[in-house]
Symmetry: C2
Subunit: 271 residues, 2 copies
């Protein structure tokens, strides 16, 4: 099948259906040449085998997606060594960036300002290694509904300020799902400019029934994805659109080849 | 019972348990002297009876809470006459402000910028009547997770800009639930200053299980309410803390007198 230039798929989209090996093959079958990879799936496959498979399939790793970077889901501090190891893995599979989802409030804390300082300090600590490895850190602003438990970085403005404070080797992810509502979106994307390392797409369903894993397929919700893609491009980002759809009620229940074909069709018709 | 100075309760907190008449009596039994009133509950009671009861109980109406002001929950435009009538009701019960929740995207639209323009224009249209009636319009920024279906105004910064554009007779609601995550909260509250017409409190539960009606009692979640109250006071707001807890899984299932007593106890111990 012909390559779908400009389309990548994050393997979270087919998380329950496919292993990393199956995702590489399945995406390639549909002509997709970029994949977003998750650490647990990589560990399951093995680093050497994954690297070989990705290379043989001609599949670019458009993101390596690390969550709970500063505190874990229980609000416990992460050991710095864990993030250094993940960075080494990102370098091994030649990931174009390491997506950093920073974690929410530490256990028992109500101090968001302090959580945000810790997030900045944790990134600063990891940064020399990221620069040496040639893997940029991509700060992902997460929707405010997950501020307590997933990330204390909740707007593009915040991510841009972190970039300005931290300097070279740090950029941002623009994930349509997290930022579509932002009244300052256009200004935030313009300011991010060549700091944009990843553009992720899906749709916001209305109504949305769960705070977790209820994302929609492009075209099924309310986000003006074509306009957002134009914004991101005008800001200077020339990379692919990476589809990332976690969907417990719908797409995670379907045949994965059908999911991938739908991503492809919607991308071609809507973006 | 002694008055609880500085505490009001929004009747949404006891919505399934109590009519307006019951809420006035129940809150008064606990020494609470301020109530937030909803239009459907007022209509059920009747305007004249409600006005008399409120006066006899010495109960101040700290807010009259109007949703779906520009578009309804189906995204259909609201007739301007409906909002004028609600404003007259607010004046009749001597509400200290009319809380304006503006509505989300019009049906079939993905254009948030346009929705926001319509919201501004709708407020501007209503404003002369509000000024004449002596009822200030209190713009309520709503959490971004409800941007599509409840309100396209999703930050204090946006509400402040609307105030600046519209002039006298318009202010803001600071509802802890909607704005606690905002990285610019302190600046937004300071800027709002004497535009703050209402301060609403509850807590953000972690995890939160539903986008609608899953609010927590003060102290059960992650919001630093004491710090937020200090911010609001420092900005110049001298009015009460109005508790507003919509809670399908917990507080709406309890005896309403217990709910009110808990609001009182938590307010006294935590704020």
């Amino acid at each position: 099948m012909r390559d779908v230039a400009g389309l990548a798929i994050n393997q979270a989209t087919t998380r329950p259906q496919w292993s990393l090996a199956q995702a590489i093959d399945g995406y390639a079958r549909a002509g997709v040449r970029g994949i977003g990879v998750w650490p647990d799936k990589l560990a399951e496959y093995g680093l050497a085998a994954a690297r070989r498979h990705l290379r043989d399939a001609g599949m670019a790793v458009t993101s390596y997606c690390v969550g709970e970077m500063i505190v874990d889901r229980h609000g416990r501090p992460q050991p710095a060594e864990r993030n250094r190891q993940l960075l080494d893995e990102a370098a091994e599979i030649q990931a174009q960036c390491m997506v950093c989802v920073l974690g929410g409030l530490p256990a028992g804390s109500r101090d968001m300002a302090r959580a945000r300082e810790c997030a900045r300090d944790g990134l600063a600590e990891l940064l020399p290694r990221a620069r040496a490895a040639g893997v940029p850190l991509a700060i992902e602003p997460i929707h405010p509904m997950r501020a307590a438990d997933v990330s204390c970085v909740n707007s593009l403005a915040q991510a841009n300020e972190l970039c300005a404070a931290l300097g070279e080797g740090v950029g941002v992810v623009v994930d349509a799902y997290h930022v579509w509502w932002d009244p300052d979106l256009a200004a935030g994307v313009r300011r991010a400019g060549n700091r944009i390392l990843s553009f992720q797409i899906c749709d916001w369903l209305s109504p949305t029934v769960s705070l977790a894993n209820d994302r929609g397929m492009m075209g099924d919700g309310v986000i003006d994805l074509r306009a957002m893609r134009a914004l991101v491009r005008a800001a200077g980002f020339a990379g692919p659109c990476e589809v990332e759809i976690m969907s417990e009620r719908d797409w995670w229940r379907r045949d994965a080849d059908e999911v991938v074909a739908t991503c492809r069709d919607r991308f071609l018709s809507l973006l």
